[in-house]
Structure formats: structure tokens, C-alpha cells
């Protein structure tokens, strides 16, 4: 795959000229691949994306596409299209003219056909002549997607594309985008703070913290083998147990490792006031703190024998004491770190 697709090498970018936002990032996106940069707000992910687009100057490093250094290539000549969080549709143009903005060089008939094709892809048939002000948030975002895909960008840059939408809409749109990206074999770089967005769309995920990449891996590998305690924590693992604590609860880990408990790493194992026997590890009792009703289960905050707080799902409102066990395949071993 050498020489094809995007190569970011040692990129250093300052935000507003003084704050170090991206600190030596190297990252590849192969042709047809979708890579997500996952990071908390302030991790430098948007600045990285803007630098790739040419909207922020690089202080150091290189951005190369298909072997060509882009240092002297203007934003409008890169063939990279950015799709922003709020869509940034042009309010004075119709839906069709928004979508056609990047393909004005095509002959008229071809252009119209392409617009209709794309509106079909984003499930907005018949919207061509609508005014932007009449669109709902989800519709506007789908028009923005169609507009971004229209010129067949050699790289699509997605900046938190669905964060502003409500949950149900977001999940539906993730499907639409995922489908559209596969269908058009678009190369894309997505930045997001939303783990679900990254896992749903990306072939590979790069976890960014404090301006540098902590780990790059496929979603599955990332989830199974987070490179550090920080990465595991960001993905939603926690609390973390030291070696003797883990051993006491039935799981052996190596020296210098900690055990991260996943979101479903703790399981209620109690029936009629008795701990159920388990083939892999022991059941043990925890003290129940606050509980909260969720859809179809109860979410309880419990205190583990060594004092850490964890969450566990139960069917019924638990007593003060609850029998639980660790689920080894829902926990990870990571290096204890500094």
C-alpha cells in the first residue's frame, strides 16, 4: 500500500499559534480505508483534521497523499472535503445546489444525475428543490454528507459529524454513512469523541490523547488489547485492580499489569441468597450503593472488596449485599503504566 492514500508524518500543529495541539502524529489512511481518530475534547483531534485539510498550518512534519507532499497545495486544490459537525450548508442555495457545489465542472445533465443519485444514497429523494431553512437537523446533516461525497473526494474528512444530533437519529445516520462510505469506497478520516461512532464506522481507530497517538488498531483489537491503562480507561474500562486484588477475586495477571473491568465485566451471580458456583472464578460479595433504573435492568454502584467502585447490572432491586463474579473475557490486562 506504499504511496497510496494519506500519510501523516510527525505532524506538529499549534492551536492559535501558541498552544501545542498536535505533537508529532504519524498516521496512514490507505485507499478505501476509514480511519477514526478517537479522543476526548481538547485532545487535538480536530486540529489534526484541520491540518490535514490545509486549514491549519503545520509547524513541523509532512502531509503526503499518493506520494505527493501537500505543503504547497491550497485547501481548495487538495481534493479533500471536510464535513463539519453542523453541516455548514449554504443557506442561500437549495438542497440540489448545495450538493452540486463541488461538481460545477460536470456537464449539467451529468451533474443533475449525480445530485439525484446522492440524494437517493442519503435517503432524501425528492428534496432537491427544498430550501435549507426547511430541513431538520438530521436532514441537513444528510445533505451535508451528500454534498461532501458528490465530488468523489480522494479523502473525506469528517469532524464529529453527528455529535449535535440526538441519540436515535445518530444511530440511524451512522448506518446511512457507513453504507454510503462502503458503497462509494470512499477513503475517510473521522475524528470523534464518541466511541460508538468510531467503532461503527472505522476500519482502524487511532486513540489520541494530549496531541499524540496512544494506539492504532482495528476496533476489535483495540477493544481486546488496549495498549495502556489510559487507552483502556478512555474506552470505558474501569475500575482497575492490582495483581493481588485481581487474584483475590479469581483472576491471575502478570507482574506490572493491572486488570481493567469492562462495562460488562462484573456479573451478578446470586439466586435465593446463595452465590452460584462458577467454573472460572469465584463469586464474591459486594456492598451495594446507589441504584438506578435503566431500560430492562437495574444499574447498581457497588463497592468491591478492596474499596473500588464499580457498576453491575441486576434484574431486581438488590439488597445491601450482592453476590457477583468477574467475567474474564470482559476484562483486560494492561500494563500498570507510570
Amino acid at each position: 500500500m506504499m504511496g497510496s492514500g494519506l500519510e501523516v508524518r510527525n505532524a506538529v500543529v499549534y492551536y492559535e499559534r501558541t498552544k501545542l495541539a498536535v505533537d508529532g502524529v504519524s498516521l496512514d489512511v490507505a485507499r478505501g480505508e476509514v480511519v477514526a481518530v478517537l479522543g476526548a475534547s481538547g485532545s487535538g483531534k480536530s486540529t489534526l483534521l484541520r491540518a490535514v485539510a490545509g486549514l491549519e498550518p503545520l509547524a513541523n512534519g509532512r502531509i503526503v497523499f499518493d506520494g505527493v507532499d501537500l505543503a504547497d497545495v491550497e485547501v481548495s486544490k487538495r481534493g479533500f472535503v471536510v464535513m463539519f459537525q453542523e453541516g455548514q450548508l449554504f443557506p442561500h442555495l437549495s438542497v440540489a445546489r448545495n450538493v452540486a457545489y463541488g461538481i460545477r465542472d460536470l456537464p449539467r445533465a451529468e451533474r443533475e444525475q449525480r445530485v439525484n443519485e446522492l440524494l437517493h444514497t442519503v435517503e432524501l429523494d425528492g428534496y432537491a428543490n427544498r430550501a435549507i431553512s426547511t430541513l431538520s437537523g438530521g436532514e441537513a446533516q444528510r445533505v451535508a454528507l451528500a454534498r461532501s461525497l458528490a465530488p468523489n473526494p480522494r479523502l473525506l474528512l469528517l469532524d464529529e459529524p453527528f455529535s449535535a444530533l440526538d441519540r436515535a437519529l445518530r444511530e440511524h445516520l451512522l448506518q446511512v454513512v457507513s453504507q454510503a462510505l462502503r458503497l462509494t469506497r470512499t477513503t475517510a478520516l473521522l475524528v470523534t469523541h464518541d466511541q460508538d461512532e468510531a467503532f461503527a464506522l472505522a476500519d482502524r481507530i487511532a486513540v489520541l490523547a494530549d496531541g499524540s497517538i496512544q494506539q492504532i488498531a482495528t476496533p476489535d483489537h483495540l477493544w481486546r488489547h488496549p495498549a495502556s491503562r489510559e487507552v483502556a480507561e478512555f474506552l470505558g474500562y474501569g475500575p482497575f485492580l492490582e495483581k493481588p486484588e485481581a487474584k483475590a477475586l479469581g483472576i491471575e495477571i502478570a507482574d506490572g499489569e493491572v486488570l481493567g473491568i469492562g462495562p460488562r465485566g462484573l456479573e451478578a451471580v446470586e439466586a435465593h441468597g446463595q452465590l452460584l458456583p462458577s467454573p472460572q472464578c469465584f463469586g464474591f460479595y459486594v456492598v451495594v450503593g446507589e441504584t438506578r433504573h435503566a431500560r430492562g435492568y437495574i444499574d447498581a454502584v457497588v463497592t468491591l472488596p478492596h474499596g473500588q467502585q464499580a457498576r453491575v447490572r441486576t434484574k431486581n432491586e438488590p439488597d445491601l449485599r450482592l453476590g457477583v463474579r468477574l467475567v474474564p473475557e470482559e476484562c483486560v490486562r494492561v500494563s500498570a503504566g507510570a
Partner: protein, 583 residues
Amino acid sequence: MTPGLAVAARKNTGTDGSPWVWVAVGIVPVAFLAVFFAWPVAALIARGFTDADGAFTGAAVSSVLNSGRTWRIVGQTLAQAFAGTAVSVLLGVPGAYVLYRLRLPGRRILRALVIVPFVLPSVVVGVAFASLLNENGPLGFLGLRESFTAVVAALVFFNYSVVVRTVGGLWARLDPRTEQAARSLGASNARVLATVTLPALAPAIASAAALVFLFCASAFGVVLVLGGVSYGTVETEIYYQTTQLLDLPTAAALSILQLVIITASLLVSNATRTRNERALRFASKAGSQRPRASDIPAIAITALVILGLLLTPLLCLLWRSLQTQDGIGLGNYLALGETTDKSVTVSVWEATLNSLGTALAATVIAIALGVAVSYVLSRRPKTSASKLGVQVFDSAFMLPLGVSAVTVGFGFLITLNRPPLDLRSSWVLIPIAQALVALPLVVRTLLPTWRAIDPRMLQAAATLGAGPPRLFTSIEFPLILRGVGLAVGFAFATSLGEFGATSFLSRPDRPTLPVVIFKLISRPGVENLGMALAASVVLAVLTALVMGTAELLGQAEPGKAPGDYGSPGFLKTGVGQSGKGAR
């Protein structure tokens, strides 16, 4: 490594084009400002410090500074400006509340009505107040003709709308829930007003007051007509010294004094504008409430101002323009086609055509320059050097707002009348001077709209392949078009009524309408007064038509861009920009 150097060494990125584009776009307005503003004003200052042989002397300046008359006039200028400002604010704040916060029937029409006085030609306002206060006018018994009160009333007439629109614009967008929270915590209406509402409005009030002071201190036409000899200001004194006594060094020295006064108030105005730019909590929808019993005083005051102060002089003007020696009729209007007096060599209709032609030329110049200036000012510079450059550029084009029109006209008179640039015999001098006066208004109207365009919208367009020229033609220009419509209205209305500079530059065979009106009113004779009244009505109607059309065009424009088009930027506060445009 140092970020600044490394980054500066790289090619400029983003959607703003390179700084060289800004320089190229900005160079024409800068040259215009240098030739038609900086040079005349500098020459005027120099004239004040030189004697007849061209040698340096402080004689004229020191004799002006040592004259009791000068200080009496300076005192009067300041006293009238302070009084005009104080009354405008005291009446304008309740007005802002009633017109922008209360759900009253017809408040849209009332808001539009309130802006009319602001664009009315000063000569018309002077004539209207004079027609009300003259011995034989409806209020003649008050004996206020040529009085301090008359001048202040006319200044308030002009500037009431500045306070109402500036403060009201902010008040309408304040989140009412902040006040509701205070009320639910047990605060009385008066305490809510004093501890929550007024502090939130303070920046807008301060900025409106500074601006009104600036306008009052540089008022010319209205003072010339209403104040007579005894209530002159520095502005009218300059005019008097130049045109009546032909004492140019004294006039120049007075102009320097006026420059000092205006610069000081401009600095204060700028300081309040900067302080304004702080985050306030805005409601997504305008919060308005049904009037309550406690609102009756504010409603009463506002009704009294609108009826008594704004409508009465205009209706009186209209009524008296219909009074002829033979009773009520159109006689005065019919007489506008004739040239009755030797000093007025053209008919009023000819002067009207002159005015329209001149205003059209001035509008073209002001809009072309205003778009170029706004283009540069709406860039978002990244290096501190270019940031400073844009700031200096910004202040430079606000200067003509502060420097009095009389100074500009007088400066033209002494610089542009000989080689290298002899324009004395050319009529283009007048539209150029008018464009200079209108330019700050045009820029302040366009800029908020332009700055409200989300930079990321332009970035999205750039990544779709649009370079700076296409960004301008396909996105920026269509989005500011409504602002352009309103700016055209302001430029045209301002030029149509411009009197301060024009009165110096107008030639006898091609006078503009305000100049003819002033000549008619200065002359004795019932016919002359009648014609002046009728001509004032014509000018007022023309101005109102221009503004009304501009507002209508602005509202009819399809598509919707962020921002409020109801008033030029300086009639609003800077708060909206920093509050909303930043995202």
C-alpha cells in the same frame, strides 16, 4: 522551536486568501482615504499653524485659544452635547423596553417609525422645529426660538432612535429566564431592574451614549438653523468664520479644536465598544412579554416622545407647508418650479435632480469602497502583525464618522483647489465628500452581517474546491446582499441630506436640495419660508422613500443568513457578534 516563526515561514492556509489579497483589495480605499480625508485634514491643521507667508506661527491658534468667544462656544458645544445625550438616554431606555420587550400591537411599525428621524436631513429637522417654535408657530408662545432647549430637543429628535435601537436590540435578545430566576428568588421588579437587567444592558447604554455624544458634538445643520447666532457650536462657528468673515486661519484653528473634542469622544466610544464584547446570555428566541400595570409609566413616556417629540414637528412641517397667503393649498409646492430670488438661481426641482444625481454617485463610491473595506475587516488574521494591521485599518475608516463634515468640506476647499489635484470646478467633489461621510455607516452596516458568516461554512466550501474569488461570489456576497441593500439605503439617504460638507463645496449653479432649503430659510419673505417648508417636505419624503425601499428590499431577499438587518452595526452593540458568531 518557536511556533510563530516556523508557522509564518509556511504558506498561508485557510479561506481568507493570502495577506497580499487583503492588501490588494484594501489599497483603493486607503488611497481614497489618504487623498480625500487625511490630506485635507492635515492641510487644514497646517493652515492653522502658518501665516500668510507660509511660515510657522502659533498666532492664529493662540488667538483663538485666548478668545473668550471661543471658550463660550466650546462650552456651549459641550453643554448641548451633554444635555442631548442625557435626555436621549433617559427617554431612549424606556423606549427600548416598550418597543423591543413588550408585546404591543403595531410595534413593528413603531420601530420603523422611530428610525426615520435618524436619517432625516438635518436641515429638514431644523426647518421642522423652527416651523413649530417660530413666533407664529403652534408652540411659538413658549418663546423657545433660537434657544438652548430648541437645539437640545432637535438633537434628541435625531438620536432617540440610536439609543432605542442599540439598547432595544440587546434587550430583545436577553434571556428572560435570568430575570425570572431573580424574581423567583424573591426580588421585586425594581430590584430585578437594578441588579439584573440594567447591568446587563450597561454596555449597550454606554456605547449608545458615547455615539450620541459624538453625533451631538458634531451636529451642524440643525444647530445652524435652530441655534441662530447666540447658540452656535464649534461647527457653526467654523462655517461662520469661513463663509461670512473669510477668516481662514481662525477657522482652521477652530477645526483643530473640534478635532480634539471629536477624537476624545471617539476614543471614549471605542473604549465602550471594546468593553461591550463580553459574553451575555442570549435567548434563542426573542423574549417578549405582555404589558403589565407596572409598565404603564414606560409606555406613557414612550407614547409622549413618539407623539410629542417625533411626530409633532414633522406634522407641523407638513401642515405649515400647505399654508399660503391665500389659505390652505398647494401654492408653496407649485412655486417650487420657479426661481423667485436672485440668490437661488435654480428651481427647487432642478436642485432635487442635482441632489439625486449627486447622491447616486456618492452611493456608488461609498458602496464600492465599503464592500472593499468590509472584505478586509472581515478577514480573520492569524499573525499578530496582520491583526494589528486590520485594527488600524478599522479605526482609520471610522475616523470620518468622528471628524466633522464641516472640517472635511473646509479641508477640501483649501487642498483640492490647485494642482496636483484641481477639482474645485468639478462637481465630483461633492459626491466624494458625501461618500466619505457615508462610508463609516456603510462599513458598520455590512460588517456585522459579514462577520456573522461562520468561518467553517467558508472552509467547507474551500474544501469543495472553491478558491477565494469563488468564495466571495458564491457565498460571501449572496449572504451579505441584504446588508448591501440596507447600506445602499443609508448611503443614499445620508448623501441626499448631507449639508455640512456640501455647504462648503456646492456651486451656485448646481446647489443641492439641502443647500437651497438653507438659502430659502435664511432669506426674509413669506414665499421663501413657504417654499423652504415645501422643499423640506419633498426632501423628507424622498429620504423616507429611499430608506423604506431599502428596508423592504432587505426583507424580501430570499434565503436566510444569520444576523439582524434592521440597523447598521453601530446602532447595535458588539455583543451579538462575540456571543453568537464565535462558534
